[in-house]
């Protein structure tokens, strides 16, 4: 009974958390006039679906979505593969320069993305990858997100007792076999976390695509939304419908993975 105030506070907090999403979803079904004349939390009097249709037809929204998906999936896979390899090396293998190299990775976490934009652009141009999907993907996999991914997975690997690996070694397993057969299955939770962090951060990124892509065939959703905003500054009904479509895939992916994330953060050793 005395928990009621607590529940009230928690419910209000939850409302604030999802409020903006709900308001957006609500408005996406209203006509332009209704958005201006009704209260934002009022349900639509005559819900319409045409806003979504209008966004799709006026803009090449399909292309934006496809591009975002290609880039985000590629980056996620790249991160899972390369960061895991590196993380295992840092966590378990002994080699000269290991700790210094690891600290160098960590140090680059403190460098903001904005700072390296133009130099990275110049490098990508030298590689002939301007305005290409590969040019979009590579700096994400190997640059912006990589140190965090390596850090995360390495910390997790460190919490797995080495006795399991030692047993496998005695059985004659080589390093790569251990990694593939022993470590990775045990690391599913953190890999799930890394996957979702990579996917979300890539999907939501505006700066790099803004600089590296210009043609409309490589445009991703973030740029599409930014483009829409300046063209239709007060046409909230369209902008909010587009935003809904941009937000929903992430929410869906999250709901699928959310148990992984929570468990892996718990297990990743806040010790």
């Amino acid at each position: 009974m005395k928990k009621i105030p607590l529940y009230l506070v928690l419910i209000m907090g939850a409302l604030v958390s999802v409020g903006p999403y709900l308001l957006t979803l609500n408005a996406a079904f209203k006509s332009k006039q209704e958005i201006l004349t009704s209260e934002p939390w009022a349900l639509p009097a005559n819900p319409i679906f045409s806003n979504f249709g209008e966004v799709w037809s006026r803009y090449d929204f399909a292309t934006f979505v496809v591009n975002s998906v290609i880039v985000a999936v590629a980056v996620t896979i790249g991160q899972l593969v390369f960061s895991t390899l590196a993380a295992y090396a840092f966590a378990r293998l002994d080699f000269p320069g290991r700790d210094q190299l690891f600290w160098a990775y960590i140090a680059t976490l403190m460098v903001p993305q904005i700072v390296t934009l133009v130099p990275t652009f110049i490098i990508v141009r030298e590689l002939g990858l301007v305005d290409t999907h590969v040019g979009l993907i590579m700096p994400f996999v190997f640059g912006f997100l990589m140190p965090y991914g390596v850090f995360l997975v390495r910390q997790y690997f460190k919490t797995i007792p080495s006795s399991i690996e030692d047993a496998a070694r005695i059985d004659g397993a080589g390093t790569f076999t251990i990694l593939w057969r022993v470590m990775i299955p045990m690391a599913k939770p953190i890999l799930g976390t890394l996957a979702i962090i990579s996917f979300v951060n890539t999907w939501n990124n505006l700066l790099w695509p803004l600089i590296i892509t210009h043609s409309e065939s490589t445009r991703v959703i973030t740029r599409g939304i930014a483009q829409m905003q300046s063209q239709f500054n007060q046409e909230y009904h369209l902008i909010l419908a587009a935003s809904t479509m941009a937000l929903l895939p992430l929410v869906a992916v999250f709901l699928v993975f959310q148990r992984h994330i929570v468990r892996s953060i718990a297990l990743s050793g806040m010790k």
Binding site: V18, P20, F95, L101, T108, P112, T120, W203, L250
Partner: protein, 306 residues
């Protein structure tokens, strides 16, 4: 029966080590290559550029320490440093305290914990670009949800995003909204790692809830606290998208953090060399603060950072 002789001759041990090293480098190769090309190389270029004057259109011109000297007299840049600290002060304590309280609440015996947890973490997914529009709509002085809501109570809402005293607090609260749930997860994990026996022992001694919190919970949360503070402070020095879509650094430069000022100098004012200098300064600030945090916590925690 005598023990079998020691059969691990030194050469074999060395061989194992160099084989391990070779395997390690093989595993690391793609990552290191990428690291060198896409992280180290750009950073080196930025540092070098800080000694040049470059308007993006012609060739860079070497000017030595001129950029660094100019900083002392640059009001906008100095103001942006102030704005950055203001933002961090508004953002981090609120976010950390709220996240901790939430974690405590969700760690206790209440119903629907999972549901609450999911709802509180959802904001983290939000695409800043899309959210920016939504927030601008929510904070619009005439049609926005916030002022309409306040109207119901007869309170006159301010011109949130066009008023230079309110713009930064608004941006900070948007960020608190977005990351509190995510931060909460780390505290939750830390709380769940505290052995229950400690609390039971305290109960036997008749300890009050406040005592339990300050004597047991807080000290044992230090590792989680360290991780959270370091990563969220680094993150808040780098905030960009939210500012870009909500205020573009305005009104009157009140929401231009140093990170955003770098963007403005580089792309609006075409001072890429000067912007690079600012980037070096920003990195130095972040590094100093991170080291200070680590040092402060390191004395009293057994968290293994290596």
């Amino acid at each position: 029966m005598p023990n079998p002789p020691d059969t691990e001759p030194p050469p074999r041990r060395q061989g194992r080590r160099s084989r391990a090293a070779f395997e390690a480098y093989a595993m690391l190769a793609p990552s290191i290559l990428g690291f060198a090309v896409f992280l180290i190389a750009p950073i080196v270029i930025v540092v070098v550029l800080s000694f040049y004057d470059w308007n993006l259109l012609s060739d860079p011109e070497f000017i030595g320490l001129e950029n660094y000297r100019e900083l002392a007299g640059d009001e906008r840049a100095l103001k942006s440093i102030g704005n950055t600290f203001y933002y961090v002060l508004l953002n981090i304590p609120a976010q950390t305290v709220l996240a901790l309280l939430l974690a405590l609440a969700l760690n206790s015996k209440i119903k629907a914990r999972n549901t609450f947890r999911v709802l509180y973490v959802l904001p983290w997914m939000a695409m800043p670009v899309a959210l920016g529009v939504i927030w601008r709509w929510v904070f619009d002085p005439q049609y926005g949800a916030l002022n309409r809501f306040l109207d119901l109570f007869g309170v006159d809402g301010a011109a949130w995003l066009t008023d230079s005293s309110w713009a930064m607090p608004v941006i900070a609260s948007v960020n608190v909204w977005q990351y509190t749930g995510y931060t909460m997860l780390f505290f939750l994990a830390g709380l769940q790692a505290i052995p229950a026996q400690l609390y039971e022992a305290a109960d036997v001694d008749g300890a009050s809830p406040l005592y339990r919190f300050f004597a047991i919970t807080l000290p044992l949360l230090r590792p989680a606290m360290l991780f959270v503070l370091i990563t969220s402070v680094i993150g808040s020095f780098q905030v960009f998208d939210t500012i870009h879509v909500m205020t573009a650094g305005g009104p009157a430069g009140s929401t231009a953090t140093l990170n955003y000022q770098i963007y403005l100098e580089s792309f609006t004012q075409r001072n890429a060399g000067y912007a690079s200098m600012l980037a070096v300064v920003l990195f130095a600030i972040i590094a100093l603060i991170t080291l200070a945090q680590a040092a402060l916590f390191r004395k009293r925690t057994t968290y293994d950072f290596s």
